[in-house]
Symmetry: none
Subunit: 188 residues, 4 copies
């Protein structure tokens, strides 16, 4: 691949990251191309469909999250590792509309293409989860799929609220609610 081609690919990915983060999957591709400073044709040379671009962006983000989960897998305190990762993931993903869209499953086609990467993240998170459950920090009746769904839901909730001035919502409190709900309850 020529140097300028590689550079354009980078520019496009960066622009797409920003655009998708701000507006979700709804952004016109022309705007992505404009942000990247290239023509839409160039975009299509690198990414044959809009979904391919979207997937590329989300793929990268999912892998970053998966990597982070992997790092946390060896931490001394399984419970702290798990809840630390949850907090990290919420913090990182909340402002990325595309992740919210992707994790929430907007459009069934996305799922198939992203399934592998999403599965990878789910596996890593599942490992963290299982370890935390074995250590007694997290409720035992929870599958990795449930957890991913709950995270996706929280992200969605945070997205919606950031636009609605009439109903103020507190990211800290909402995350705390989720974490408390995930925690094992001593009395039970």
């Amino acid at each position: 691949m020529r140097a300028d081609a590689r550079r354009n690919r980078e520019l496009l990915l960066r622009a797409a990251q920003d655009a998708f983060a701000e507006e979700g999957i709804g952004v016109p591709l022309d705007e992505v191309a404009r942000r990247a400073g290239v023509g839409p044709g160039t975009l299509y040379r690198h990414f044959p469909t809009k979904e391919a671009l979207f997937e590329a962006v989300v793929h990268e983000r999912l892998r970053e999250l998966a990597a982070r989960a992997r790092e946390a897998a060896d931490a001394a305190d399984p419970g702290a590792a798990f809840f630390g990762f949850v907090a990290h993931m919420v913090r990182e993903a909340a402002p990325k509309q595309d992740l919210v869209d992707a994790l929430g499953g907007a459009g069934a086609e996305l799922q198939t293409a992203l399934a592998a990467t999403a599965g990878e993240l789910r596996e890593e998170v599942g490992r963290l989860l299982a370890r935390a459950q074995r250590s007694g920090a997290v409720r035992p009746d929870l599958g990795a799929g449930d957890l991913m769904a709950l995270l996706s839901g929280l992200l969605h909730a945070l997205r919606g609220r950031s636009r609605d001035p009439a109903a103020p919502a507190d990211q800290e409190v909402m995350t705390a609610v989720l974490c408390d709900g995930l925690a094992a309850r001593p009395g039970r």
Copy 2:
């Protein structure tokens, strides 16, 4: 109103309920009309804009939920009333993509028209919440806006999962996580 008009209005509302429930606000009006077995002009006669139709559908659903919340307001046990309503709301609203869209605030314009009804629901829910908080059943650091957002998020999560066969998620467990997170924690 003439019999055929009422019938078609019913058909349209029903078709719109189904279509919006399945696909959210994104469904083409022509498809709603097609599902109802009428022409697009007929749809227009009954609902002058797409938003009017969407609002009619969501309005009804929001009012049902608000009514249910009002009923619960006088129950003997404030905590049980609150958690019972949360479970009811999740059960009812989960398969309705439109409610998820509306509660999640997809598109600022919707909000203005539905704000009144959504606000009504929030108020009723807020009353249940406050009472449950005073009774010590629900954590005190939670606003009505937070709660609505969390519910909206959970609904979104459930919607997304219902389409994703690869990542099974359990509505019961997820609702339990939310409810446990909402509950006051004795030890704190």
Copy 3:
């Protein structure tokens, strides 16, 4: 024809007169029906197409103008009769958008259907004109068609101006310009 049918026909014509006068041929028929207090179906019972209704309205107006021209045909002073009629016609027709549309020939189909009545008016006006020309009051190089066109143009001009606050125009002056232009010029 039943009494109520005749009455509805009257109501419709009256409503159409008003609506067409105010908005020209562009008014939706539903609005005409609404103004008349009847259903659109009733409108169609009496007038099989929109154009038929339009023609009925314009027909009546043209006949009134023709009658007025006929009255003026015997006046003592041919010049005064002619210019008096011109002023009358401008005064009457200026606020009737439909007449402006019809005389201006908006839509070729109209012309065919209204041709007979418009021709009748043209004939009467032509008689006034010829008499005034013979008396030396009006320039001789003017045909009845020219005159009708000029009148239609003046009406159009007055219509446009009444909407444009940036370019004030004076109906009196404009009519005077036309009349002076029509008058025979002594020096020639």
Copy 4:
């Protein structure tokens, strides 16, 4: 700008000129595109709204007329310059339905966007007019707005007549009537 783009822009403008000239602002954009041999999207690329296209066409025509008026402003004989311009304008604009629409003020929105250019023309014409009035060639009781309205009306009249074979009208005579009406009358 690329060669093909410029070519298509030219084709579109030309097609729009013809279509607007023949049918006024009422032509469907799809027909303009069809005439130009391009898709509707291409039209949109060059002219983002229908009004933008209309304005582009009319703008050009108005500017040509304004330029012509400016040229005439320094002529030796103010009266001849004025009447010459009137004749020129009638000749040029008569077959252009769009100019008639624009000058006649069809639709208030047009006015805002074209107001500047139309105002420019009115100013230039007003200059010619004032000079001719000072020289005693043109009646003093006439504003620039009146003149523009009269011109617009004459154009409208000529348009209408060109479609009506039953009522022959003579452009020369009609223009002469207007000009004579505009001229100062010695005897008054």
